[in-house]
Amino acid sequence: MIDKIFATPEAALADVPDGATVMIGGFGNAGMPSELIDCLIAQGAKELTVINNNAGNADAGLAALIGAGRVRKILCSFPRQADSWHFDKLYRAGKLELELVPQGTLAERIRAAGAGIGGFFTPTAFGTRLAEGKETRHINGRDYVLEHPIHADYALIKADRADRWGNLSYRKTARNFGPIMAAAAKCTVAQVRETVELGELDPESVVTPGIFVKRVVRLATLRKAP
């Protein structure tokens, strides 16, 4: 029987090794799996490469992971925020590598990884500093830049509801990077508000089919965690 619902978040993250590449869902705080990140901090993995749209806000979630010195490199589109002090400090000190990627290219590179695409030509960033050194091509009257997929070992995402097969639904704009990160990582761990019986999620409205999800943790379980 398939049952992807984990009793404890510790078990769901126990095998994240040092040096892992970890996608973290969310755009700002919407869809950010903050409680899972807290568990990852407690778990202790270090030298991580993190993929997220931002580089953390204030002192919680991704910012706390960065502040704890666990991140070696971050791929994101918008690190600079009024309250991104943990990132700012380590980046300025040369202790945190940054790969800046336009937001749509970031999303498409993640999508490409999940969909088995080896590379794609995008018009975004052509002629700019972010395309320097990259292969370009003129196709049908337009200029494009060649970009490659971003794969990950783990994806930590936040969804709304899940069943034991790992099917996920999301809430409003908290959907953002969740569905594409789920497909791009070898092991996707989803924190959800609630779990429901198999068959309760409308098959027309499942946004992430369970095939992309390895582990599900309920928020209530997470909040009980140390």
Binding site: F27, G28, N29, A30, G31, N53, S77, F78, P79, R80, S84, F87, D88, Y91, R92, L98, L100, V101, P102, Q103, G104, T105, L106, A107, E108, I110, R111, T122, P123, T124, A125, F126, G127, T128, R129, L130, D143, Y170, R171, K172, T173, A174, R175, N176, F177, G178, P179, I180, V207
Partner: protein, 216 residues
């Protein structure tokens, strides 16, 4: 001469957005455009974090942390709205489905190049977000900005000195002094919006030569 304020620039942009348009408004001044859409026009606002049909700001106390706009501030959804993930959202942008995006800028060049993401300072932390995708993907790119820097230099230039966001993509420029159309053969004046500003004076202030636009 009396320059337009931010709200007046936003209102001037809103006048040019047709009924039924799909529009993405950048952060800052562009966001104000939403407040000035004529009541008889139905405009569908796109926010790149995954919503089409963005509504007005929520009333205090009704904010939902799962419903925000691209500026990460609380938002609402209109009847007819839809949610989608980031790859679909940027596919919408890149695929040329957004009729108009409105962006702020440091500089716009006479050929339509735009610079709005990086000051070029060596120690600045770079951040680009969705600006390059919008510049490359939207059918029309409207830029709103003050015409002159604090030092009085034109932000409309022959060639951008700041790092580029996109090449040959800007179609219109809305400033506190004028509305300017970017065409293949140069910049055309659509309208002087600052009260008491003559064409000659605008031409003197503007970084590059302006042409009169032939009547449509």
């Amino acid at each position: 001469m009396k320059k337009l304020d931010r709200h007046q620039i936003a209102a001037r942009v809103a006048r040019d957005i047709p009924d039924g348009a799909y529009v993405n408004l950048g952060i800052g001044l562009p966001t104000l455009v939403a407040n000035h859409i004529p009541k008889d026009r139905e405009i569908v606002l796109h926010s790149e974090n995954g919503i089409l049909g963005l509504g007005p700001k929520p009333a205090a106390g009704t904010e939902d942390e799962d419903l925000i706009d691209a500026g990460k501030t609380p938002a609402t959804a209109l009847p007819g709205a839809s949610y989608f993930h980031h790859a679909d959202s940027f596919g919408m942008i890149r695929g040329g489905h957004i009729d108009i995006c409105v962006l702020g800028a440091f500089q716009v060049a006479a050929n339509g190049d735009i610079a709005n993401w990086h000051t070029g300072e060596a120690d600045a932390i770079p951040a680009v977000g969705g600006a390059m995708d919008l510049a490359a993907g939207a059918k029309q790119v409207f830029v709103t900005m003050e015409h002159l820097t604090k030092k009085g230099e034109s932000k409309i230039v022959e060639r951008c000195s700041y790092p580029l966001t996109g090449v040959r993509c800007v179609t219109r420029i809305y400033t506190d002094l004028a509305v300017i159309e970017v065409k293949a053969d140069g910049l055309y004046l659509v309208e002087i919006v600052a009260e008491g500003l003559s064409f000659d004076e605008l031409q003197r202030l503007n970084g590059v030569p302006l042409k009169y636009r032939a009547a449509a």
